[in-house]
Symmetry: C2
């Protein structure tokens, strides 16, 4: 069914308060989920709200306040207190932005979080503040290293963001051959996975999503892609994640942000970045292929289109499920948010 | 023919002084070339010395002193003065190490350089100093973005390094489907390129190395790999490279180095990194496949083997060519090194 952006955002936010978030945190999560919908990534949008509710019910509420455990002029390390990554990473990113604007460069890590969402969301925040960023987030061992059939790596996204005189340039990829949310969705729909993206618990190739979830996904990109996933895991470990996190907990998030002015005239960098982007887009396409795109071009265009239409399409069944969760009373229907301010 | 490591290093160093480097710089370049040989990457070893000599003869000597053009407690920007990257990146890396050890994190960029060698060499330097590093280096537009047939990107390596209680973990990849040195070598040998790695000047697929050098190589890894190459180009632009550098000049080099102690107890990180590496290596291999490797495992093992043997194998013809260059008098046989101290 068709929802206005305001309706969809309101629904997402109400679900988040219903499962135990205060209104400020629920709005941060709701905005992020809405941005996925706007960009045409629905598995990370309203559908993700169901997975969040399930995780919070399954694990009970062990949340502790997010706190800064170590800090300097150029760094901070947060204990995420088992809060969801949308909130933890948002706060870590804001700290990195503030510190990088003051000191030129900063690194902020956060541990003990889960579901960090799209790293590009945080890279856009940094770019909007005029900063270059490098961001990584590790996860549970759902992914087998190259040459293996057993999980040791998360789906491990890595992201880079650059401001420019035109649109910021954002690059955000996962390092697994298939996304966790795609496999979960295939299981719900009873669909098969593509060839070559997963192993079952015995290490044999499988197209069955349930078997893949009990086994491991393949890494993307052969030994190079698998090595990049290793890097992301180590950046997560640097942020305080254990070497192999448990299921949907103990993820790490790391961001390095820096002012391009450290390297020379800021305006020169911004112009050169834009000029390079134009050069890439103007490269002669393969015969019969569409014009060359820069990373994020598709996302930006889809977002502009849906914002202009003020509408997103959501399966009716999903809206029904979400409405049911939203109508729960958090004091009785979901674990208490211990230590959090009152819910709306 | 078989050379001892001392003989090979001496030959490389003599060639570098013969083409106009002072002895200290020649030794830095020689060590780097030897490390390629030890790691079993001969196209970056003694063979590269020929390409260096050719480039210096072709372009004449426009070298200016390397200088720091901007500096803070957490950053520096070097003008590489058209010196070769082996020297410029070495100096930039040393500055990044010193600054990161003092301030916790630092970024150093260098512009106007060429041939930076293996980025892993610099990541090993940082890791030996207890630092995590992110390193990137852009190059001339030899590589077509995904979906294009015209060069806009360099072969654009990116590298990450992590210290641990065991061996450091080093990840270093190029983002093109084939290396520039491989194509050059294929042209010299009259060999064909593999399928699918290059376009000729008209944008048609080619296996002819000469046509590929006049056209463009493909990016590695589809749109994700191409996007990573875009990131590397932007990091080079941040370091002062023009958006599209000319042939074998104007490359950028960027390194971010940081102390893991900024995020918590250093020893905990070092142990967790080693423990993660062990977990990866112990993952069940695909049926019939060898044990799973971490990035750099092969390089480290080959280097240990050749160091133990104190020998490398080099084609006799290459030794003859190099000896001829080494016997030149730099004052008459190669362009003067203007502004450099006297040669040995």
């Amino acid at each position: 069914m068709r929802l206005t952006i305001g309706e969809a955002r309101g629904l997402a936010t109400r679900v988040m308060t219903a499962v135990g978030h205060d209104i400020a945190d629920a709005q941060i999560i709701g905005e992020h989920l809405m941005d996925c919908e706007l960009r045409g990534l629905p598995y990370g949008g309203l559908a993700r709200a169901i997975s969040i509710a399930e995780r919070m019910e399954r694990s009970g509420d062990g949340r502790r306040p997010i706190r800064v455990v170590q800090e300097s002029a150029v760094s901070a390390r947060l204990d995420g207190g088992d809060h969801i990554g949308y909130i933890v990473a948002y706060r870590a990113t804001q700290m990195a932005i503030d510190k990088a604007q003051a000191a030129g460069i900063a690194v902020v890590g956060a541990s003990d979080t889960w579901y960090t969402g799209m790293l590009s969301y945080y890279a856009e925040m940094a770019a909007a503040s005029g900063l270059v960023s490098v961001i990584a987030s590790n996860a549970s061992p759902w992914v087998a290293p190259y040459g293996a059939t057993e999980g040791r790596l998360g789906t491990n996204p890595i992201c880079f963001g650059f401001p420019s005189t035109e649109d910021p340039i954002i690059f955000d990829i996962g390092t697994s051959a298939i996304m966790h949310a795609e496999v979960t969705l295939a299981r719900r729909l009873g669909a098969e996975l593509p060839e070559g993206v997963a192993f079952d618990g015995d290490g044999l190739a499988t197209r069955d999503p349930a078997a893949a979830l009990a086994g491991a996904f393949a890494a993307w990109g052969g030994h190079k892609g698998s090595g990049l996933a290793v890097v992301v895991q180590l950046l997560g470990i640097l942020a305080g994640s254990p070497p192999i996190p448990p299921e949907l907990a103990g993820f790490g998030y790391l961001i390095v942000a820096l002012r391009p002015g450290l390297m020379g005239a800021t305006q020169t960098f911004l112009q050169n970045a834009a000029s390079f982007a134009s050069a890439v887009r103007s490269a002669r396409p393969i015969a019969g292929a569409p014009p060359v795109r820069m990373p994020f071009d598709r996302s930006r265009r889809e977002r502009q289109m849906r914002l202009a239409e003020n509408a997103i399409e959501v399966p009716g069944e999903l809206v029904t499920q979400l409405t049911r969760i939203a109508e729960r009373n958090p004091q009785s229907g979901s674990p208490p948010a211990g230590g959090e301010p009152g819910h709306s």
